[in-house]
């Protein structure tokens, strides 16, 4: 996923939480780049740091260390108020619960119109966005009159009208039935076609089937990336590489023998 000008760029992101029971490493040295107009998914087991990573990328939670650059802007070099404005201008964060993304008192049209008013340069108008995401019939409905899928689509439509170049979505289909999830994924694809970069966290295999770029996260670190059907292990800045989880059982005592073949550029990891 490397590119000359990635719109999302994370460098050595580290996130620690001080809890009553001690310090927890939620994200450990994650490097990540996502190109413009790409839909990328972050996958991994619960507690692997997906949501923490997304919140840092969204500019919501500052990392303990590392940098996040969105469209070249280092978010955490900005003061909080400025960061909030930049965030409001550049990206949308779609929460897991559909209702969390919408104002309870606004109709679908009002949701989009207020964003349209904020962005004079919006390329997509309210009516177009509603039509684009199949919400025209619901334009005068308030959120509680919509299904979860419709609410999520409205959230994506809002990103479209707001002219955001990046959408961060935290498990957007986890609370939706199959049809609704499909509709949401179609909306995501339409966003991508419109040039919007979508970074989402998911467990949903339906999502993974339709996403070209997948970043696997384990224990707070990127273990592999997949793109165009190929899976790549990720070597971090310290030279560490993660083995697939299913391989771990083959290494009793968690010890391995390393064989380096510098001539053929082969590195072998063998059980003892």
């Amino acid at each position: 996923m490397s590119s000359a000008s990635p719109i999302i760029r994370c460098e050595s992101l580290l996130r620690l939480y001080d809890t009553v029971s001690g310090r927890v490493q939620a994200v450990r040295g994650v490097d990540l780049e996502v190109d413009a107009g790409v839909v990328a998914a972050i996958v991994g087991p619960s507690g692997c740091g997906k949501s923490s990573l997304l919140r840092m990328v969204s500019g919501i939670d500052p990392p303990t260390a590392g940098r996040v650059l969105i469209d070249g802007i280092d978010l955490y070099q900005l003061r909080e108020a400025r960061r909030a404005r930049v965030r409001g201008r550049l990206l949308t964060h779609v929460h897991q619960r559909p209702a969390d993304n919408l104002f309870a008192h606004l109709t679908a049209r009002h949701h989009l119109e207020r964003l349209e008013r904020r962005r004079d340069t919006a390329t997509i108008r309210t009516t177009e966005a509603l039509e684009h995401l199949g919400l025209t019939a619901l334009s005068d409905s308030v959120p509680h009159e919509m299904s979860g899928g419709e609410q999520q689509r409205l959230a994506f439509a809002a990103a479209l009208v707001a002219g955001h170049r990046v959408v961060i979505a935290d498990e957007p289909t986890s609370q939706l039935d199959s049809d609704s999830a499909t509709a949401v994924l179609e909306a995501v694809e339409r966003l991508a076609h419109s040039g919007v970069t979508v970074l989402l966290a998911t467990h949903d295999p339906r999502v993974l089937e339709r996403v070209g770029h997948i970043v696997a996260l384990r224990d707070g670190a990127v273990s592999s990336v997949s793109s165009a059907g190929e899976q790549w292990a990720v070597i971090d800045r310290s030279g560490r590489v993660q083995l697939p989880a299913e391989m771990l059982d083959r290494f009793p005592g968690r010890r391995a023998k390393l064989v380096w073949n510098t001539t053929d550029d082969i590195a072998e990891v063998r059980p003892q």
Partner: protein, 896 residues
């Protein structure tokens, strides 16, 4: 986008809040609290001022506080009548005054009876003077009436003629003038009147008070001293005499003011009359003609000026403590309103997070919050005003609830400040909502907590130190003294939560062995939210203020009671003159008092000689700290010295003597802090009158001396002290022709104006405490409701794991009961300490003995505590039972 659409969006945003009825009610209640306290405080202060005004005015002589207008005049009808005609309507315009009475007093004259000159005679004429002076013989017009003293002194009688030689200012002969009322060349004596004073009586003091003002007018220079040669005559005789003198128009107060505003209004009326009198015009011209060009102008004199000075002084005393109490209440109220901000954000978290996520600045978020809060706060403020009025009308201290006492600008300012504070706080907090819940939950802000804790603790410490400084004025309650209880209670509650959390955290393992109900309660206490702390904290502070007020009330009430018993000596007391009384009524005694100079001790020392049975007739509070029988035993004479008890003195010599001509040696056998009638006098020596007589008799060196022995106590002042009411004692004194004066009545003393300020101030602190406790209870209900959803899910999960519904509910009730009990217990424990520290601030006479002793009304406090805990427990139970109606499926579905 059209304006209609924008308005629709704003309208929807504004009224989004109203979908949550409980939240709206909570906001209204929170906004209503400071408004109610502002209104109630104003009424309270007004009532305090009115009560003081009533107390001060009811002690006044209505004649003395009336209007006295006097002027030098030439008594010629053509001059007197025009001035009277013009001035009377002006006086009548002053409300509260009775009919105007005119009187004449000539300058000193010389009369002759049988060619014997009688100097310094004054002719006096006034309506009612003949009756008031008890004139004998007929009241036919003309002629004069003289005092019996004058009649005896010069051997005069009815029908005798007096010729008068005065300074004539009119071009007429005096004999021509007075001839109109009598025989040519003199005036005929029509009768006599009893001498209104005797040479034995001291003319000062009570004498002037006992005679009708029409006879001995106040404010009129000729009668600044006794006048034996007052000659009463009728008005026609003197008004047409052509003599010079003083004419007076007097109007007594017939309808005394009963409130401060009425008192001020009356003062303004008097001032307006003063202006009318000095302004150029027909009235001024008439007075100028009446008095002549060289005379001073008319003079208004009234005792009302002094009354108003006293009233203003008392009002100044009341104002600061009442304002301090009111301000404390307002601060608590405003903190409550400000707490709405976080509550609003908490309940509308989603909307604020979205707005903050879009980049809205905090001030814009605050504006949005203000939009939602405006209407409920305005309505709440209005309701607070309404409740304040109802409260003042029903429970309050008795004042006209008509809005004139209320400073409406303050009420509006309080509402506006509350709105701004809540909105700004909401804006600040709303900006943080964009952060994830996980981060907020997991990442503690110890620095913020420590700073807050240090600030509050530091403020408490500062106020503690400041409040403990000695004060000269016992009414210097001030803001610091009223804020200290609030700050100290808040600090204590905060520490309690911290300690509790720490203890529960440390004893996690140990607490796991607790019964499941308590275990769950302890775990919930560990995870308490800020809102719950706020609610329980407010409850604790409110209860603490109530406890503080009750302890203070008990301590101060008891102190005043003991001090009045010390000061008055019994239920009533008065000074008596003449010979010692022999047949005193039951439960009555006579004390002998003598003030001595220099010896014994260095300063002024009072000696009190008591009679046998004294101890049964005086009031004897337990606070004296000594048994009365011990005193009685102690006072028995020992050899050639008097056994004495030293009261309230540390520098009184243990062995000494008192008396100048004849000294009496004494030896101090006991020292006590206070005893009846010792008052605030520097040092007092209590002895037995009987022992004093015995000692004096024993020291007589010769039989002759012994025979002519007079009791040394004859030189003492006599004070009769009784457990009977003053009217009964006065009736007894009247029946025996015992002269009494300066009566004191303990119950009357208790309502002295100087005691009113502190009483009203701490009464209002109780109101503040009550409101704070109510707001705390309301906040707790709201919080319980808010947590109801969470508890319901927890309950469902716990029941799924096999926990009975009873235990699940019990754990929630136990949590509320434990935290409320701890907060209330803490408040009860701290209140006596605070009262001990602040007692001198609430003490009207800090130097007086005995000092304020902290009394804790345990029965009331325990009853209140049990009531509070039961109410809190019931609220928790009801909240749980309400939530328990939902099925497991409903609860789980709600949480998605």
């Amino acid at each position: 986008m059209s304006w209609g659409s924008r308005f629709a969006r704003w309208w929807r945003w504004t009224f989004l809040l109203w979908t949550d009825a409980v939240l709206v009610l909570a906001i209204m209640a929170a906004a209503g609290a400071p408004a109610m306290l502002a209104v109630t405080g104003d009424y309270w202060r007004s009532a305090a001022e009115d009560e003081v005004a009533a107390r001060i005015i009811e002690r006044q002589d209505l004649d003395a506080i009336g209007l006295n207008l006097s002027t030098e005049a030439l008594f010629v009808q053509e001059l007197v009548e025009p001035a009277t005609t013009l001035v009377q309507p002006e006086i009548s315009r002053i409300e509260r005054l009775g009919p105007v009475q005119r009187s004449f007093y000539t300058l000193p004259l010389t009369t002759r009876a049988d060619d014997e000159p009688i100097t310094r005679v004054r002719l006096v004429s006034a309506v009612g003077v003949l009756d008031a002076a008890g004139v004998a013989n007929d009241h036919t017009p003309g002629g004069v009436w003289i005092s019996e003293w004058l009649a005896e002194r010069f051997d005069l009688g009815v029908g005798d003629e007096l010729s008068i030689e005065g300074t004539l200012t009119a071009d007429v002969a005096v004999n021509d003038v007075v001839a109109g009322g009598g025989t040519q060349g003199g005036v005929i004596i029509n009768g006599t009147y009893p001498t209104v004073w005797s040479e034995d009586a001291e003319p000062a003091g009570g004498f002037w008070q006992t005679l009708p003002p029409v006879v001995i007018p106040r404010w009129v220079a000729p009668f600044s001293a006794p006048n034996f040669a007052m000659v009463i005559t009728d008005e026609t005789t003197v008004a047409q005499s052509g003599l010079s003198g003083i004419v007076r128009w007097r109007a007594p107060v017939v309808e005394p003011p009963t409130t401060t505003s009425e008192a001020r209004s009356f003062e303004r009326s008097l001032a307006r009359f003063d202006r009318v009198l000095t302004q150029p015009g027909p009235l001024a011209e008439a007075f100028a003609r009446l008095s002549g060009p060289t005379a001073q102008g008319p003079k208004i004199e009234t005792g009302y000026d002094e009354t108003m000075d006293e009233l203003r002084s008392a009002t100044r005393t009341i104002g600061p403590p009442m304002r301090a109490s009111q301000l404390t209440g307002l601060l608590i109220g405003l903190l409550t309103v400000a707490a709405i901000g976080p509550m609003l954000v908490d309940r509308r978290r989603n909307e604020f997070r979205l707005l903050a996520g879009e980049g809205d600045r905090w001030i814009r978020l605050a504006f949005r919050a203000g939009g939602q809060l405006l209407l409920p706060i305005a309505v709440g403020t209005g309701l607070g005003v309404l409740v304040g009025n109802i409260f003042a009308r029903t429970v309050g201290p008795g004042v006209a609830v008509d809005g004139t006492s209320v400073q409406w600008l303050t009420v509006v300012a309080v509402g506006a400040t509350g709105l701004v504070a809540a909105s700004l706080l909401a804006g600040q907090i709303a900006q943080g909502t964009v952060e994830s819940d996980t981060r907020r939950r997991l990442v503690a802000h110890p620095a913020t907590a420590v700073v807050g804790m240090l600030t509050l603790g530091g403020l408490s410490a500062l106020l503690w130190v400041q409040a403990g400084e000695p004060v000269k004025d016992g009414t210097a309650i001030g803001l610091g003294a009223t804020l200290l209880p609030v700050a100290a209670l808040a600090t204590a509650v905060w520490i309690l939560f911290g300690v509790l959390r720490g203890l529960l955290g440390i004893s996690r393992a140990a607490s796991s062995r607790l019964p499941i109900t308590l275990l769950l309660a302890s775990r919930r206490l560990l995870q308490r939210s800020g809102n719950t702390r706020l609610a329980v904290g407010l409850l604790g502070i409110g209860f603490g203020l109530l406890a503080f007020s009750m302890v203070l009330d008990a301590a101060r009430g008891r102190t005043v009671e003991v001090r009045l018993a010390t000061e008055v000596g019994g239920v009533s007391a008065f000074e008596a003159t003449g010979e010692p009384s022999t047949d005193l009524p039951d439960r009555t005694t006579e004390l002998l008092l003598r003030d001595t100079q220099a010896r014994p001790g260095n300063g002024l020392v009072r000696v009190i000689a008591v009679s046998p049975g004294w101890e049964d007739a005086v009031s004897w509070p337990d606070d004296y700290g000594i048994d009365r029988q011990v005193i009685v035993e102690t006072l028995r004479a020992r050899g050639d010295v008097l056994a004495a008890v030293a009261i309230g003195s540390e520098d009184l010599p243990r062995v000494g003597a008192f008396g100048r001509v004849q000294t009496h040696p004494y030896e101090v056998m006991e020292t006590v802090r206070s005893l009846p009638r010792a008052g605030v006098f520097g040092s007092t020596l209590l002895i037995s009158a009987e022992a004093l007589d015995e000692l004096a008799a024993a020291r007589a060196e010769t039989a002759g001396q012994l025979e002519g022995h007079r009791s040394p106590s004859l030189g003492f002042r006599r004070v009769i002290i009784s457990q009977l009411d003053l009217p009964e004692i006065e009736a007894w004194a009247d029946a025996r022709a015992v002269n009494v004066r300066n009566g004191q009545w303990a119950s009357v003393e208790q309502s002295r104006p100087d005691l009113a300020a502190t009483r009203f101030a701490f009464d209002f602190i109780r109101v503040v405490g009550m409101v704070a406790a109510l707001v705390g209870a309301a906040a707790l209900v709201l919080q319980l409701r808010a947590r109801g959803r969470q508890n319901a899910l927890g309950g469902v999960m716990l029941r799924a794991m096999g926990l009975s519904r009873l235990r699940s509910t019990g754990s929630v009730v136990a949590e509320v009961v434990v935290s409320t009990t701890l907060a209330a217990l803490l408040a009860v424990a701290i209140s006596p300490v605070l009262v001990g520290r602040l007692s001198t601030r609430f003490d009207p006479s800090p130097g007086a003995l005995p000092a304020v002793r902290v009394l804790v009304p345990w029965a009331q406090l325990v009853t209140m505590l049990v009531g509070l805990v039961l109410i809190a427990g019931m609220l928790a139970l009801l909240s749980e039972l309400q939530g328990a109606r939902r099925t497991k499926a409903e609860v789980i579905r709600e949480f998605g």
